[in-house]
Subunit: 423 residues, 2 copies
């Protein structure tokens, strides 16, 4: 209401600039100002919308999204309303991811963070100075509910690395489970900034068999990555011990010394965009879902790779999911065959989307005895600061000869990492 | 607080009645009204900060940016306060670019748009439903001034494709010129959504010898690009006629039919992030500035290329800048040699940043008689909808045999484009 009055005032002022000698318009403006001095309430946000419409009118917030159907990109965009996504960590990446999904009209968002908004966060998108002191989850709900009241928002101001926080985290992921899902959410996005929290998300998703996507930005603010993790099918966050160990040491050192990491709204905005784009492709079944995508901003270089699960992974839930995945291979093959035959018979019109949802090559069961990091361009996880060399300069990381040798090889791998860092 | 603002407005209105021809007072009133539209602007927003500090405290909005110095990424971050950037088009890409630069603490932002905020814009970042009806420039100033009061914001609600709008555009770019710059701004970012406006930005920048960066997102919302344009040194937007002609036809058709383009906050957020990252690298002298970077979200493929200027370019100002660039080659070479020698003598400590500011190979003067599009992976401009094939599948676009043959070759190139589209 007041917003409208202020806008009308602006229009009057602009008109006055064109025709300065108009005392009547000055009177009208005075009336508006006086009316505003009697406080009236009512935020001017839009009301809820029942069905997504493709109608091309200025007042339809979904017209440009529904146009993805006419453009042949997405078969059924409105399906997005059926999906729930959990975002862990509402910082520089998570908050922007949440805003993108909110504007896309996602069905339900679950937000987890234990931190409060500070002025030191203002160099990244989303939070505003007047929100300083609020919990990040409260501030996010405030902003997001104003942007799109159709999205169901659940916020959890808790630390998932505590025992109690972890219990609540697990329970919230399981809630509203339907027969089609292993949990109540369709995807978990990890947007946390430390090793410990990543391992906790990894643990929860391995336990629940929950597909998730991991994201991260380097301490020097100029590189980042996203990664898809499907328990049992791809490497989990604990599957590559030497890299992770190296990362942990580095990160703890950083924390002890209280070093302030650099950050940029650009790098974090790009990583959030790539992350949510990957999530949309995964949920709405278009394009190719990337198993891993790096971003080196200094050279605008975007490495990709795939990581198989490690049969000797230190995480028991991961090993269990791997076993289940192998056991279900005959059923998967049969389903894939039936689908292919059904499509071949209805082949007159080509499908809009790809059938290989994640662009992941199925692990050959005979090969899983040897853990390997298959990469055209390998990337260090968070905590190790180094610039990524160009793809063609990359030395191939040798695959561990046999999985039982991984621990013995740790020192050798560490030496290779050091060599990479100094190159 | 707001009460005071309203009373001040009343006083201004009363004063205006006495002296109707006082445009400055109208400007002042506009500012008051816009400030009130930002609910918390008066009370909780932060106050201005005189010097950027690297102190690691929660209350310092610049600590994570100044940390780029300690991380060895940027030599002098605070230099960002000396720079002015013009953003043309405050839509899905331009508004996010403006917010990123504002949060980075850029010195001055000039914002150009003629449009108003609609609910149909809500599927992209930045604008909020309660801003519907405001001009995009007013809404942007409202939001950005609340986020960072240290940034000087200038907004121009005008259409640069009109004669009057173009004059104001040119004049505003030239204002506050110092002896070090050809214009009053350090960089122009084009974030417009149509061919005509791009050609106008191209014309202005060619006339002024102004370096600019172009950006764009495809109508099907799943790909985009950024490009650096240095008048005389790189191809201008009019240098590649066949592609541009093809684009224009397509775009006009789209407009005539009133087709609603699809858009996604992810694609636009990524393009804005890549654009501003490139601008930061260019201004703060770190990493490699990309001459061209594409983004195909379906395959997470990021093609790059370089484009030389066309000596037969239809834009006379471009041809003039090319001549000047060639004429200044001896001076450039001498300066480069002197710099190299100076660095060799002070070589004990290596420089943090690259000396080749734009990562552009200098055009060999003997070769400029033949216009060529040098690309490892060529990309169609906006208006042509097709999916980008993988880099290694790309057929090389043959360089025009001689520049005078370009017009004759148009049909042949059109055939090749058609072949690319149907492949």
């Amino acid at each position: 209401m007041e917003e409208e009055q202020l806008q009308a005032l602006l229009r009057d002022l602009d008109a006055l600039r064109q025709r300065p000698d108009d005392p009547a318009s000055i009177d009208r403006m005075r009336e508006r100002v006086v009316a505003m001095m009697n406080p009236a309430a009512g935020a001017a946000s839009r009301s809820k919308i029942k069905d997504m419409s493709a109608e091309v009118v200025d007042s339809n917030p979904y017209s440009r999204l529904m146009a993805l159907q006419r453009m042949g990109v997405v078969e059924n965009y409105e399906r997005i309303r059926d999906y729930s996504i959990a975002i862990v960590g509402i910082g520089g990446v998570g908050s922007v991811a949440a805003e993108m999904l909110t504007r896309c009209g996602i069905g339900r968002l679950l937000l987890y963070d234990y931190d409060t908004v500070e002025l030191a966060n203002m160099n990244r998108l989303f939070f505003r100075p007047e929100q300083v002191g609020m919990t990040k989850t409260d501030a996010a709900v405030q902003t997001l509910s104003g942007i799109n009241p159709d999205v169901v928002l659940e916020s959890y101001s808790l630390n998932i690395t505590t025992v109690k926080g972890f219990e609540t985290f697990l329970a919230s992921l399981k809630a509203r489970s339907s027969h089609e899902r292993s949990t109540g959410v369709d995807l978990v996005l990890s947007c946390v900034d430390n090793y410990e929290a990543r391992m906790v998300v990894n643990q929860a998703c391995n336990e629940l068999g929950q597909t998730w996507m991991e994201s991260g930005v380097s301490e020097d603010a100029v590189s980042g990555h996203i990664q898809l993790l499907v328990p049992g099918e791809t490497a989990c966050f604990a599957c590559a011990p030497p890299l992770v160990v190296a990362s942990r040491v580095d990160e703890r050192t950083l924390k002890r010394e209280g070093v302030c990491a650099a950050s940029l709204p650009t790098t974090m905005g790009v990583v959030a965009g790539l992350l949510v784009q990957n999530a949309l492709k995964y949920l709405l079944n278009f394009g190719q879902v990337s198993p891993y995508l790096g971003y080196n901003s200094l050279k605008d270089y975007f490495p990709t790779m795939e990581m198989r699960p490690n049969p000797q992974c230190s995480n028991p839930a991961c090993v269990q999911r791997q076993k289940e995945y192998m056991d279900s291979k005959p059923a998967r093959d049969a389903a894939a065959k039936a689908k292919m035959e059904a499509e071949a018979s209805a082949a007159s019109e080509g499908p809009v989307h790809q059938d290989n949802e994640w662009n992941i090559s199925v692990v050959d069961d005979e090969d899983t005895a040897s853990s390997s990091i298959r990469s055209t361009a390998d990337v260090l996880p968070e905590g190790l600061v180094r610039e990524l060399p160009a793809a063609d300069l990359y030395p191939e990381l040798p695959a561990a000869a046999s999985s039982s040798a991984i621990d013995d090889d740790l020192e050798e791998l560490q030496r290779q990492l050091d060599a990479l860092n100094s190159s």
